[in-house]
């Protein structure tokens, strides 16, 4: 019989194979468009030019520093967002009045685009990292909270009955029943939050401009566009895509593989 480990690596290999085929196909298509000269080469550079630009900007350290600066902001934004989401979920769980309060808060805040809050944020926090982090927190908090709360309220009565039957306390019930039963929703919320965080970050950075040495990818793209350095613009998009895919495939996918998918809880 084939061992579970073998099967795991084979399916992982198949997964990356499919990804690879997709990327090769995409690059071939890109080059075809480039060589057919549909667009001016200045606006639509070849794959080669983009990668040379990517390499150069990595080598001189600029792109690396900018990426690092952006990732730090995203990290803090996500962290604060998750902590507040957890606190608000706990508050909502404590009683029904708090729950309706939190639900109303989501209804009010969730549809507000982060960028729309930017002018206000600048007045409150000034032109600094604080404002960007605030926008990121705003973008990630509501989808994470919304997903977690809808997961919590749809936990089967059966599990709750079982939890009460074996004498779990309220906190034990949340830790032992609610959180694991809601993991698929929590992951979905984190994934949406992660994607939203990038959008908010890049948008905010473009509007903010440079904040000293610590500007991020958004400002990098903006700057390069101003100098008409289109390959560098694409190079930074490549960086964003690579980070996005890496987090999706390696972090979230592995997380799900080792939890919800292993437990047969995938929705």
């Amino acid at each position: 019989m084939e061992s579970i480990g073998n099967r795991f690596y084979r399916s992982l290999g198949k997964f990356f194979m499919n990804r690879l085929i997709f990327f090769i196909g995409f690059l071939v298509l890109w080059e075809a468009v480039y060589y057919l000269k549909f667009f001016p080469a200045m606006l639509f550079p070849s794959v080669q030019t983009i990668f040379i630009s990517l390499f150069d900007n990595m080598k001189n350290g600029e792109l690396l520093i900018r990426t690092y600066n952006s990732l730090v902001l995203i990290f803090y934004g996500m962290l604060i967002g998750v902590v507040i989401a957890a606190a608000l979920t706990a508050l909502a769980m404590s009683n029904n009045i708090c729950k309706s309060f939190v639900t109303s808060l989501i209804a009010v805040a969730h549809p507000l685009p982060g960028i729309a809050l930017l002018p206000l944020t600048i007045l409150w926090f000034g032109l600094g990292k604080g404002s960007i982090i605030f926008i990121i927190v705003h973008s990630v908090l509501w989808p994470i909270l919304l997903n977690t709360m809808s997961g919590f309220s749809s936990v089967t009565q059966l599990y709750k009955d079982f939890g009460m039957n074996i004498g779990l306390t309220k906190i034990g019930l949340i830790r032992g029943i609610y959180i694991p039963a809601t993991l698929p929703n929590i992951y979905a919320g984190l994934k949406i939050g992660w994607a939203r965080a990038w959008r908010a970050l890049i948008g905010a950075e473009m509007i903010f401009g440079a904040t000293g040495n610590s500007s991020g990818l958004g400002w990098f793209i903006y700057e390069k566009r101003a100098f008409l350095d289109v390959p560098a613009v694409f190079a930074s998009l490549v960086v964003i895509v690579v980070i996005g895919i890496t987090v999706e495939d390696l972090l979230f996918n592995q997380l799900e593989k080792n939890t919800t998918r292993k437990w047969g809880m995938e929705s």
Binding site: D161, F162, M164, I166, G167, L183, T259, W263, G264
Partner: protein, 263 residues
């Protein structure tokens, strides 16, 4: 009949349960039910569907309060759920999907600090897994095993908690006939070996006769007890079966009552 018991393990005293529905009208589900359950007995509760069998079990479990009357376990008032009354449900989903088979049995032990150490708890888990014939499935997840196996695990999980009473809400109702028969046999053997008290809800007459040391029939809603008998069918040869002495008469008696109540 049941009123001669000196120390009932479960004592149900004139219990009434009413629900108020959305329109504000009151629905009486249980109407003045009194019942005493002897320690070590296997009580089967029969009744037409919708008669409030599950409601009665939920009241004993402490999941809902009665509208009138009281319920006692070993002379103490039942006010909330407790590990002394372990539930086994009908649905296969009652195991926690994020825990292995062994983990599901171990979890209540851990929560209630049954067993001195992790090693001791593992031994308890192994003991009850082999009692239901699943010693090889310790590390499987619930979604990897069949419905019948899940119900076995649920029974093992309840037994491992060493409850005073196991409350079973039609645990075999979703199984195919063959699996159901073999699980009935297993449960009967386990009951004989452990002498645990079982209250078993069913709508299946055969199941009640085969398993119950005592059988109670509930009337249609608002329910009352319309028949309470000690199982007259001979069980000297082990588990009762459709050829056992007195089986046909008992079946007819129960069937008549249920037909009467279903009208």
């Amino acid at each position: 009949m049941g009123y001669g018991i000196m120390n009932p393990i479960i004592d149900i005293k004139s219990v009434t349960k009413k629900y108020v529905n959305a329109e504000g009208s009151t629905l009486t589900v249980l109407d003045d039910i009194s019942l005493k359950v002897e320690p070590g007995s296997f009580l089967c509760v029969l009744g037409p569907s919708g008669c409030g069998k599950t409601t009665l079990l939920k009241l004993i479990g402490g999941f809902e309060p009665p509208t009138g009357g009281e319920l006692y376990i070993n002379n103490s008032l039942i006010t909330k759920p407790g590990i002394d009354r372990s539930m086994v449900f009908q649905t296969f989903d009652q195991l926690l999907p994020w825990k292995t088979v062994g983990g599901n049995i171990e979890y209540p032990l851990k929560v209630n600090k049954i067993g001195e150490s992790a090693i001791e708890r593992k031994e308890i888990v192994q003991k009850y897994l082999s009692l239901v014939g699943l010693e090889k499935f310790n590390n499987y997840y619930p979604h990897q095993i069949s419905g019948g196996m899940k119900q076995r695990v649920a029974i093992a999980r309840s037994l491992a908690q060493k409850p005073q009473v196991i409350l079973m809400d039609e645990p075999f109702a979703s199984l195919d006939a063959q699996t159901r028969n073999s699980l009935q046999e297993e449960l009967y053997k386990i009951w004989q070996q452990t002498s645990v008290t079982i209250i078993f809800i069913t709508h299946n007459i055969q199941e009640a006769i085969v398993l119950g040391s005592k059988i109670v029939v509930l009337s249609k809603s608002p329910s009352n007890i319309c028949l309470e008998i000690d199982n007259p069918v001979d069980s000297s040869l082990g588990i009762r079966f459709p050829g056992s002495k007195g089986y046909d008469e008992c079946w007819k008696l129960l069937h008549e009552q249920i037909v009467l109540q279903s009208k």
